[in-house]
Symmetry: C2
Subunit: 155 residues, 2 copies
DNA sequence: CATGGACGGTAGCCATGGCTACATTATTGC
DNA sequence: GCAATAATGTAGCCATGGCTACCGTCCATG
């Protein structure tokens, strides 16, 4: 039972229409992006492992991503359905052309973000850590601005 | 059935120990942060609604956050357990002191990130959109660097 | 003062992304 | 060639964060 009468403006004509709607869209978009983040981390890790060990394997991915091999297997299944990787049971994991392109884009973007942060005087480790989280939310416009800043550093 | 013998270096002594471990930690950390992101978005929205309408209500939050009122109710329950908000059924939602502090920090951080992006020449709307995603991953060091850049803009 | 419609809440579904525990397959070393 | 071990895969659990459908509350207004 409620403890008393609510005399708050319940029937107010909402009034938070314009800007609130826009922010809602931004937030929805950000949430949608989150689905891609994992895929990006995976294809990047697969590309790296393939480059350094000749082939990406489940345990290697698990170690690199900080999850159990079970999680890797399940996520790989999704990436397979999404067309980013190919994999047969007990064999290594390979990127499709699409996956390769995504990995290359991610690697480039990650490098740019990390370099930009370092150029602001942020310590290596912190820059790397922040880049890991930031990179997935950097639009092409912002990425271009970062690159421009790196090209002509402040005096 | 596998289509043939795998002659890949399975028994290699892992060799991806040092840097891979570090990256795994970074990624784990980023994943952990994700749990906080929602809380941050909520307390910020609650603070805004309280400021502009006198009280935060479920439907208002739902509109602002771009989700259904059901999602809001469930998340509020979690935030309540976490000690960020207080709420009784059919009453408005209020921030605890802790929630208030978090909201203030988030608002400040969001403003800083958005202003920094705008200072790089990124269009208002894009800056706002990117800030929404980036803000949750900005460490204190990086935030300080952004603020420093804003204080003395490039000539 | 009754009631309609907005608001708030519950039940139950789905997908994702973790996990442990257990089973299966490949490789390797004896 | 066979056993041990590491890698891979399966089953099933939990939490989170969406959703729809439906039901309950409340209060402004006729």
């Amino acid at each position: 039972m409620p403890t008393g009468p609510a005399k708050n403006g319940r029937r107010r004509p909402t009034r938070t229409a314009g800007p609130a709607k826009r922010q809602a869209d931004y937030l929805s978009q950000t949430r949608r992006e989150h689905a891609h983040e994992i895929a990006e981390d995976y294809v990047e890790a697969i590309a790296d492992l393939a480059a350094e060990a000749g082939q990406a394997r489940v345990v290697g991915l698990a170690r690199r991503l900080g999850v159990t091999h079970v999680t890797v297997i399940r996520t790989i299944a999704r990436l397979k359905k999404a067309g980013f990787v190919t994999a047969q049971p007990y064999r290594g994991i390979s990127l499709t052309d699409e996956g390769c392109a995504l990995a290359a884009m991610c690697k480039n973007r990650h490098e740019t973000v990390a370099a930009f942060l370092r150029s602001l005087g942020i310590p290596e480790q912190v820059a790397e850590m922040d880049a890991e989280g930031i990179e997935h939310h950097v639009s092409p416009e912002t990425l271009a601005a970062f690159k421009a800043c790196l090209r002509k550093p402040r005096p």
